[in-house]
Amino acid sequence: MRAKDVLGKSGEQAAAEYLEASGLRILDRNWRCADGEIDIVAVERHALVVCEVKSRSGMRYGSPLEAVSRAKRARLRRLAILWLNAHGVRFDQVRIDVVGLVYEGTGGFTIEHIRGVG
């Protein structure tokens, strides 16, 4: 595994723990289909949360949150529908969240969770 994939993997793990700690119930992780991958699928109250996790090793190239472009958000919306169809379930609300993580050394991350980005 390449260094960036290691970072991504541990970032996703940290994000999942963070989300569970903040009261979300995780349904699915790394769900793949022909159109792409959803990092984390979770439930908060009555809402389905499709969550994109973005990890960075530093702020040299800007905040990880900035890397979630308009096109990426559109893809996440599409993937959310695909996930719902694939599992045959319905939710009152579907939401896209982004979790940005910046590696701070010694295994720790600063975590920022933005709800409802589009």
Binding site: G62, S63, L65, E66, V68, R73, V98, I114, R115, V117, G118
Partner: protein, 541 residues
């Protein structure tokens, strides 16, 4: 999450409108959205400001930033909101204390490296800010002297965004670079300008006063002088009348007779601008970007001589995007000289009729109407025929009368009807040149007479909005200031004969007042009216 407010000014013409810049930082993916009718240059501010903030060593807030410019319906153009937006964002992010923004205005374009660049139109903008109760403005260093012309406003000059932030945070020198400093306006206005027209040193002609105290004076050795125009005593007299009363002048004559020479010497007999006029003229030139950098106050009446290929937009103002003043406005309170007037496009000449009548130019665009003052003295110069050889019978001009008529016909009747003094210059012979040497007065002597005549008119017109005889409306003229009884008989006879229109009569009375003012008479006499009529009709010798 956080909201901060700063203020700037949007200029429409030379009128400033206060614009509130709100910066809101909210949770969300990092982005910056700008609302409130920005144009392209302003929309690009997003990238400029971000680079400037980061390169000044500040943190760019990684959140969703919304910048609103209100009133939202007013179109905002240009790059000079950069500083106010940058400061607003940093204040919203808590990097600048909000209290430092109270009652302050910000003008300036940011470079990507955080440098603060000067912008055009600072004087009218600061004046508008002062009018609305703002007591502090922050500008680029190159704009500071101009901003300091406005009284009762603290001007802070900064060279970079970092210096500006240091000043606002009260930590001078912390972020490096030359610290921002308060610019004490050398009270240019008080120093060199009298309040009203009653100061003795005004008698010095404008040309020899170019050098201001404390600045490197340009060489004035070869300053033009009215006395050089030998053999044209009537033309010199006409120029004097026009300078004294603000009347429009047309000069007709063969090449070499001295039309251009005369027109170029008219600024030397005009008195200096007074305080209000100087600020007005400087404001217009500030918007046009034609101010000298060192001494940003124009005190001499402007002299504009556009080339005859000039377009309508160049003369009356316009242009795409930002509406710029044209030559007519730049010549406000001065002289607009159209050399070779028949060569100008007809629509350009006719576009001048409105400013001649109203004293201002109105440029209408979708959403905005810009007004520029344009109260200038028009001077037209023309050759009598297209071949320009009609100097005398020996010269062999082959133009037919029809050709000549057509040539001069390019200056439309309605335009010529607004010209009060028409002078026909004859070619000068050798004897006249030699003889006139003893009679030609220097610009200095004539300027003194012009100044005294203007003072007399201003004294008579005190309490009215007008200062020059040419500005007084006809109705007011006939009611309040009629010439001496019986003195108008010669003018009335002309009217009966159809030589002159009713409007012409009013124009003649105005010029007659100026002639009387120049001679120091309390009211125009019969001779003054006859002289004015002669000037109006264009005396043929």
């Amino acid at each position: 999450m956080a909201l901060a407010r700063t203020y700037s000014v949007a200029l429409i013409g030379i009128t400033g409108h206060v614009v509130e810049v709100e910066a809101d930082i909210a949770n969300g993916l990092p982005a910056m959205i700008m609302v409130g009718l920005p144009d392209t240059a302003l929309r690009e501010a997003r990238d400029r400001i971000r680079a400037a903030i980061v390169n000044s060593g500040e943190k760019w807030p990684p959140h969703k930033i919304t910048v609103g410019l209100s009133p939202a319906s007013l179109p905002k153009r240009g790059s000079w909101f950069d500083l106010s937006i940058a400061v607003g964002i940093l204040a919203a992010a808590g990097q600048v204390p909000r209290a430092a923004l109270d009652g302050a205005m910000f003008f300036g374009e940011l470079g990507l490296d955080g440098r603060l660049r000067p912008v055009r139109g600072v004087l009218p903008a600061v004046a508008a800010a002062a009018e609305r109760g703002f007591r502090r403005v922050m500008v680029a260093e190159a704009n500071a002297a101009e901003a300091a012309l406005v009284p009762d406003v603290q001007v802070v000059a900064a060279s970079t965004l970092a210096a500006a932030l240091d000043w606002l945070c009260g930590t001078p020198g912390l972020r490096g670079g030359r610290p921002a400093a308060e610019c004490k306006g050398r009270d240019l206005l008080g120093e060199i300008l009298p309040d009203g027209p009653d100061t003795s040193d005004q008698a010095v002609p404008a040309s020899s006063r170019r050098g201001l105290p404390g600045t490197a004076a340009p060489v004035t050795a070869a300053a033009p002088d009215l006395a050089e125009l030998l053999g044209q005593s009537l033309a010199r007299r006409g120029a004097e009348v026009c300078a004294a009363g603000g009347h429009h002048l047309s000069l007709l004559g063969p090449p070499g007779a001295g039309k251009t020479m005369l027109a170029e010497r008219i600024p030397t007999i005009l008195p200096k601008l007074d305080r209000a006029a100087a600020l007005e003229v400087t404001s217009i030139h500030s918007v046009a970007g034609t101010l000298p950098e060192q001494v940003p106050l124009l005190t001499d009446p402007p002299f504009l001589a556009p080339h005859h290929t000039a377009t309508k937009a160049a003369i009356v103002g316009g242009g795409s995007g930002i509406i710029r003043p044209g030559s007519a406005s730049l010549a406000h309170r001065g002289v607009l000289f159209l050399d070779e007037a028949p060569e100008f496009a007809r629509d350009v000449l006719d576009a001048l009729r409105q400013p001649l009548e109203a004293g201002e130019v109105v440029v209408a665009r979708s959403g905005v109407t810009a007004r520029f003052p344009a109260r200038f003295t028009l001077i037209l110069a023309a050759n009598p025929c297209p071949c320009a050889r009609a100097a005398g019978p020996a010269e062999g001009c082959s133009c037919s009368p029809a050709m000549r008529r057509r040539y001069l016909g390019r200056i439309s009747g309605p335009l010529l009807d607004r010209v009060d003094v028409k002078i026909e210059l004859e070619p000068v012979g050798r004897t006249e040149l030699l003889n006139d040497r003893n009679f030609a007065e220097s610009s200095r002597a004539v300027a003194l007479r012009v100044l005294q005549a203007r003072e007399r008119a201003a004294h008579r017109l005190r309490g009215t909005p007008w200062r020059l005889n040419a500005e007084v409306p006809g109705s007011e003229l006939r009611r309040t200031w009629p010439p001496a009884p019986g003195s108008l008989r010669v003018v009335e006879r002309s009217l009966e004969r159809g030589q002159i229109s009713a409007r012409g009569v009013v124009k003649v009375i105005r010029v007659a007042w100026t002639v009387a003012d120049l001679a120091g008479r309390p009211r125009p006499t019969r001779d003054d009216c006859a002289m004015a009529l002669g000037l109006w009709l264009g005396v043929r010798r």
